[in-house]
Structure formats: structure tokens, C-alpha cells
Symmetry: C2
Subunit: 451 residues, 2 copies
């Protein structure tokens, strides 16, 4: 049978997967340090719920049907199912389904695959991993959570072997209040045009705003607001200097100032107030987040989210929330394809235990058992080939150490271990020897410069 490559469904070779695991481990560890609890939801949701968000989402949804049921044999009690295309829809459904068994505010993280039937292209996949955190509460959600979300992801990015990631923060109430303050009623339509600023530039945005009925002065003011970007609290004065007054604008400025102030205190340099950030304004109602990787701004945002007044509602109770989502596969795909990150080896094993002859394999097994009991990942050579061949086996995988059992009767006198990078070979006891800490697990980072 022909082997079929499927475009848009990335799979990693062992060394790449070690990079991915490192990223996922750092993300999980950081989320847990901040007291988020893990959630994993089923891969499928009723299609009706997936479509509920509206928009063009239906074109991207993968429907799921038992092959045996195709052609109308499905039981009429079955609901049509589809693969989730994000982690927010299943999270909202989970909250409604389990509200009575959860404690609120509910802090959850969720690291899972999602599926979108998009046209595949660089950095855009049909199956990809997202890592989300959200805090959701019943009825009301305290504003301080809006400042907490970007701190958590700033800590993630600081721990990852990537360049400087800047979190761009805005508050939806700022453009809303500002636009109303200069007499623009169609806030959503205006935002949709201003949102194209990075793509088409200020001249085209101004032209489109005028086409949409805005005056020259209004268009100029919209662009002036969108141009404000400050790392400190000076954005407030710069907005004030534009001379626009509106209570919603005041609210937005206060809220954004609180987020930026918390950022300055806890993670200086990680956040920037960027007043052109818009995002899917149909459901975000407060703070919104995007990110840029310094030097790779054209790659777009790897992490985004915001505050929504109604994450979920069952008619009686409304659950407001705030969340942020890291596009793990997009980030990794671009870093790996550009050779910007690499793993020191293609296996967890730090040691290859050589086999002197097939009849003494049990002696090598005993060495491996002793090393593993002390947490040292190792593997026993697959064959009792010449030592040169066993060393090449280790070298091809990047295993740094090869262990030579002594007299073949088990761990004991005569055992030696060789660092195959330096060639250093020393006497060693499997009950006490340890590799240097940096060799215990594969390390992940920027590739070493070529010699």
C-alpha cells in the first residue's frame, strides 16, 4: 500500500519531538506553578455546538461519522459530531456540563490538538497543538485576572529557548470609547478596517475608513490612536493628548493601565500597550492580547486571547472569563523549519551500555538496571558487535556516554564509561556514577554555531 503524506498534518522525527516535548513540559510546568488545573476534553463536540460561534467556522470543521453508519444507517438518537477547532468551545461546554462539580473561579489549562480544515501553508496546519489558560467565574470576574494571564505566558516565553516575545495588550473599551467620543457609531466596522493596519498600511486604512463614511478628521484620529504603543504607562497621556472624552474610554484606559502596571512590576519588558490590537471583537469585551517574536514580526501572533463577558451561559447563569492561547505547533513549526532550535540528542538515553558478547548480555542488563534505579536513562546495545560499531550506534543518536562492563559478570570492578564526545574514559561503578547534570536529559536550545 502506498504511504500517503498528508499536507497540514505535521509529524516530528525523534529529535524534533524532543524539542516539542520540552516546549510542552515548560508550558505545563509554568501553568501549574500558577495553580492552573489540567483539563482534557474529548476530541469531538456536537456539530451544532461547533457552529454556534458563527462566522465561517463551518467551512473548517471536520465532521466525524462511524463508517458503518454512513449512508443514513446512524441511529436517530445520535447527534452529528465534529472535531473541535479550538479549546474554548469544548471548555465552555465542559463548564456548563460540570458547573455543579467545579469550584469557581475555575482556573484551567488545556494542552491539546485541534483540527481545522484550512488550506495548509507554512505555519498553518490542519492538526495542531494549542496550550490555553482561562479563568472563568460565575456572574462576575475580577479585573485582576486580566493582568494575570499575560504574566503567565511571559514566564513561559522567558523559559523557552526563543528570542524576545512581546505581549501586545489593548483594551477593547479604548477604541470603543474613543470612536464614540469622535462621533463614530459603527465601532465594529471601524475596528475591522483599522485591524488591517499591519497588512495594508495607514494610507489604505485611511482610504477605506473614508469609503465607509468616516470623515478625514475621524480617519486621522483613528490612525493616531492605533499608532500609540508604549512599554510604560505613557500611553494614557498620549491618548489624552488626542483630546477625546468618553466614559468608556476612561474605563478602558484605567483597565489597561492596571494591566501594564502589573506587568511592569512582575515581568518588566514583557508587555507593551499597543492600541491597534483588535482581535475577534465579536466576543472579547475587555483586555485583548497578541504577541510578536522580536525579529520575526511578520510571522504574526503566536499567542492571543482576551476577556469575554459570556464564555458560557445556560440561560440562567453567565460565566465570564479571560483566557490566552499559545499556538504551540505554529511556533515550533517555524522555529524548527528555520533551524532556530534543536535538541542535543534524538533519544532520552544518556548512556549506551555496551554488550561484550551475547552470552554476557545479562551483565549489561544489570548495569542498565542499576543506572535506571538512580534515574539515569539508558539503553543496552542491540547486538554484541565490535565496540567501534556499538560506539557508532550511540553517536548516531547523540547518546553521550558508552558503558563498558568489566569482566562480564555484572556491575563491579573493571567497568568503564567513555564520554564519546571527548574520548575520556574512566573507571566507574553503576551504583555511584552519574553523568553531568546537563547530560542527564536531552537539552533543547539554539543550535551551537558551526566550528
Amino acid at each position: 500500500m502506498k504511504v500517503t503524506k498528508l499536507s497540514g498534518f505535521p509529524e516530528y522525527l525523534p529529535a524534533e519531538r524532543i524539542v516539542e516535548q520540552h516546549f510542552l513540559d515548560v508550558i505545563r510546568e509554568t501553568f501549574e506553578l500558577h495553580g492552573f488545573t489540567s483539563l482534557e476534553t474529548r476530541a469531538v463536540e456536537p456539530v451544532e455546538r461547533l457552529l454556534g460561534k458563527g462566522g465561517d467556522a463551518d467551512k473548517e470543521i471536520y465532521g466525524v461519522t462511524r463508517l458503518a453508519d454512513e449512508g443514513g444507517q446512524a441511529s436517530s438518537r445520535d447527534v452529528a459530531l465534529g472535531l473541535h477547532f479550538d479549546l474554548t468551545v469544548p471548555f465552555a461546554r465542559f463548564v456548563l456540563e460540570n458547573a455543579g462539580r467545579l469550584t469557581f473561579p475555575y482556573r484551567r489549562y488545556q494542552i491539546q490538538k485541534v483540527w481545522r480544515g484550512e488550506r495548509p501553508q507554512e505555519g498553518r496546519y490542519r492538526e495542531f497543538t494549542q496550550a490555553d489558560i482561562d479563568v472563568v467565574d460565575v456572574g462576575e470576574l475580577s479585573a485582576h485576572f486580566e493582568a494575570e494571564m499575560p504574566l503567565v505566558v511571559a514566564e513561559v516565553f522567558a523559559k523557552l529557548p526563543i528570542g524576545r516575545m512581546t505581549i501586545q495588550v489593548n483594551n477593547r473599551k479604548i477604541p470603543e470609547g474613543f470612536y464614540k467620543g469622535i462621533g463614530i457609531e459603527d465601532v465594529a466596522g471601524t475596528l475591522r478596517i483599522v485591524d488591517k493596519l499591519d497588512k495594508v498600511g495607514p494610507d489604505k486604512v485611511a482610504a477605506q475608513l473614508r469609503e465607509a463614511g468616516r470623515t478625514d478628521e475621524q480617519a486621522a484620529q483613528c490612525l493616531a490612536l492605533a499608532a500609540i504603543r508604549t512599554e510604560d504607562l505613557s500611553f494614557v497621556d498620549r491618548v489624552r493628548a488626542l483630546g477625546v472624552e468618553h466614559p468608556t474610554l476612561d474605563e478602558g484606559l484605567d483597565a489597561l493601565a492596571a494591566v501594564i502596571r502589573t506587568g511592569l512590576e512582575n515581568a518588566p519588558g514583557a508587555m507593551v500597550a499597543d492600541l491597534k490590537i483588535a482581535r475577534g471583537l465579536d466576543y472579547y469585551t475587555g483586555t485583548v492580547y497578541e504577541t510578536q517574536l522580536e525579529g520575526h514580526e511578520s510571522w504574526g501572533s503566536f499567542c492571543s486571547g482576551g476577556r469575554y463577558d459570556a464564555l458560557a451561559s445556560d440561560g440562567r447563569t453567565t460565566y465570564p472569563g479571560v483566557g490566552i492561547s499559545i499556538g504551540v505547533s505554529r511556533l515550533l513549526g517555524l522555529l524548527l523549519s528555520q533551524g532556530l532550535v534543536t535538541a542535543s540528542r534524538a533519544t532520552p538515553a544518556a548512556v549506551l551500555v555496551a554488550v561484550v558478547e551475547e552470552d554476557s548480555r545479562r551483565a549489561s542488563d544489570a548495569v542498565a538496571r542499576a543506572l535506571r534505579a538512580r534515574g539515569i536513562p539508558c539503553e543496552v546495545a542491540p547486538t554484541a558487535a565490535k565496540f567501534g560499531k556499538q560506539i557508532r550506534y550511540a553517536d548516531r543518536r547523540g547518546i553521550p556516554f558508552v558503558w563498558f562492563p568489566g569482566d562480564g559478570t555484572g556491575p563491579g570492578p573493571g567497568d568503564q564509561v567513555k564520554d564519546i564526545r571527548s574520548g575520556d574514559q574512566v573507571d566507574a561503578d553503576p551504583q555511584t556514577w552519574s553523568p553531568p547534570a546537563e547530560d542527564l536529559r536531552p537539552s533543547v536550545g539554539a543550535p551551537a554555531p558551526s566550528p
Copy 2:
């Protein structure tokens, strides 16, 4: 919109998910200690490949189609896709697709969801997690890998908070050679009947064997072989005592003795030679594995696998392999539903940092930052409620410690931490205080007996 429970798609609440994470962490850590590299394959495979294994699998496969493409609008270049129903089919495809970029013998582990459109029942799900290890080589696979697989899972089970798990091992060549030695030609048909032994008992198996054309004597010999079960190597003599001779039987006995001997040396008590174990004998060709949880034998096998001469083949090259698969969701589902395992708390947080008043939240944030920098998971109280209410917030989640910031100006003199289980409250400095090691992360184990 109505919230829809989907039968067969289990989802865990926070404390249950912590149990699942612990199981998955132990499994991954043990696999990596043995030098297995991680693989994650895409969720979908061409339906043609999924059906390739034959049998009734088609009835269980979930097909995947873009909603937009339903009704025949899919491009003719698209292949029909389905969700994988195990991890072996995608692994075999991945090996063929990447043979030139992998190093052999290729040791991989894979922990992922799989999907089967079965009728849901206790311990049987439509979406569930499996944890597989396999070793695959080119052309030939050394026999010692057949002894290694059960050692790895024995180590997993020894580290998990479950009762004694026994790995039942057989070698397919034993019944094959034995049957041929007593004149039975239809080996597969005979095995299929003997395989029902645990379900229907020896009398019915004997009757069915006779119906299928076996003599009384042959039926009795088949049952005598199937009844042999020993923890040591004595199974060899017991088989010999049945007086049957065949070269394939000799091969099988030698191979099984080698596996059991390695087990006795490395993991005494973990394995048993059990000559009734058959498994899907259409593709297993050597050692086969099943498991039983002591005291819960009726739950069936939680972990099984075996040796196959042709895991994959592209016509020119054949890849033999040996593998074993842990049914994580089945095991967890039964343990959780019976209350046999529990987590000490429902959140990773070891500490709740109280908030004295909303205006001093930044002081609490600073304490949390200091604790997290030293790897202590914590969360800051959501509101500056009365301390009693903040303590109840921690108690409901099982967070063992509540931190009271001192003068509200940040970490420093006056800070105290309370163990809310004992009521002990002591002065503490967030730069130096640590919880007891056993409280740092949630612990997972058998529930404490009620007082």
C-alpha cells in the same frame, strides 16, 4: 443550547485528571529511562490503511470529512480519512514513510488517544488513551527485545499505586508446535477455540474441539497444555511430560524460557509463563503478552502485545517488531469508578496566598512570585474576602497551606503560613520557606481509610 453528554467519551474532573496525569507521567518517565523515544502521529490515517488489517475493524472506524466537502464536493485528490483505532497502524505507516531518516533498531513510545466506534460499556470507550512501546528493526529483530518489553511495563506497574499486576507470557510457537506434534493441522482454528477457555470453561472448549474434528485425545492434550502456568521455568518440564515432540515446540519453549529467565533475574514475581494466552494470532509470531490485576482478574487484560515478523513492509524491506500496549483509560476508568485511587488535592497549587485587602494584592503577588521562583506552585486568593472565606477556598480544593502576608508591603517580616489541615501557623519568609516534599505536588494513591 442543550449540553450533550456523549456516552463513551470520558472526561475527568480536576482531581481525577491529576490521577491520570500521574499515571501518564510514570509511564512516560519509565519508557524514557529505558531509552524509548517519543512519537506522536497525526490522528487521521487513510481509511484504506486502517482497513488493511482486515477483520471487523471497519465497523469501528470513525471517518473524518470536512463539513464543507460533504455531498461530494471534496477534491478528487483527497483521500478518505479516518481516526486511528490503535497506535500500531500509524506507527507502521510512520516507519515506512520515514525509514531513511530513522535509526534502527528504532525504539519508540507513543502515548495518545485512539477512537473506536464500539458500543460503550464499563471500561470500554469510544475515545481512550493507550501507551505503547515497540522496537522495530530492519530484516531481523533480536530475540532479547521480546524479554525486554514485559520488564519495562513491569517497572511501570510497580511504580503505579495499584495492586499486583501479573504479566502472562506465552510463545505462539508452543501451541503451534504442540498441535502439529499431535497431528492437528488447523492450528489457528484450534487456538481460536482454546482462547475461549477463561470465558466458557474446559468442558465447553473440549466439546467445541471435538465438534471441530479433534479427537478426544487431542482435545485433552490441548487442554492439558493450556492449563500449564508457572512463575519459574518448570513449565518446560511440564510440557515435556505431556510427551509431545516437534521442532517448533522446542523453539517456542527455548524462547519462552529465555523471556521468563530474564524476568526472574530483573523483575522477580512480575511474569508468569501461561500457556493458554493466545491473542490475535493472525499477526503475532513469537512471544505474546497479557496482564491481570490481582483480585480483579475478571476485568481482563490491561496491557497486551507480542512479537510480529512483519510490522510493516514496503515490498522490498520487511520490518519485524515487538511491542506492548497499556490500556491507560480502561485501567484508570475502572480504578476511579471503584474508588481505588485518588489524588490528595484537585489543583497543583500547594499554597494559597491570601489577600489582606484589594489594594495590597501586589504584596500577595510578590509573595507568590517568590514562591514560584523556587518551584512552589501557588495561587493568589481571588478576592480580599474575610480570611475564613479565603481558607475555605483553599480547603475546597485541597490546597494544604495558606500564606498570610505581613504588613502588606510585600514579602518580609510579619508573613505567616498556616497548614490548614493541622492548624499550625508559623512565621515564614517566601525566599526560604518550603512545604514538606510530599506536599509540593498532589500525591496520588489509594484513598486513606475513613477515620
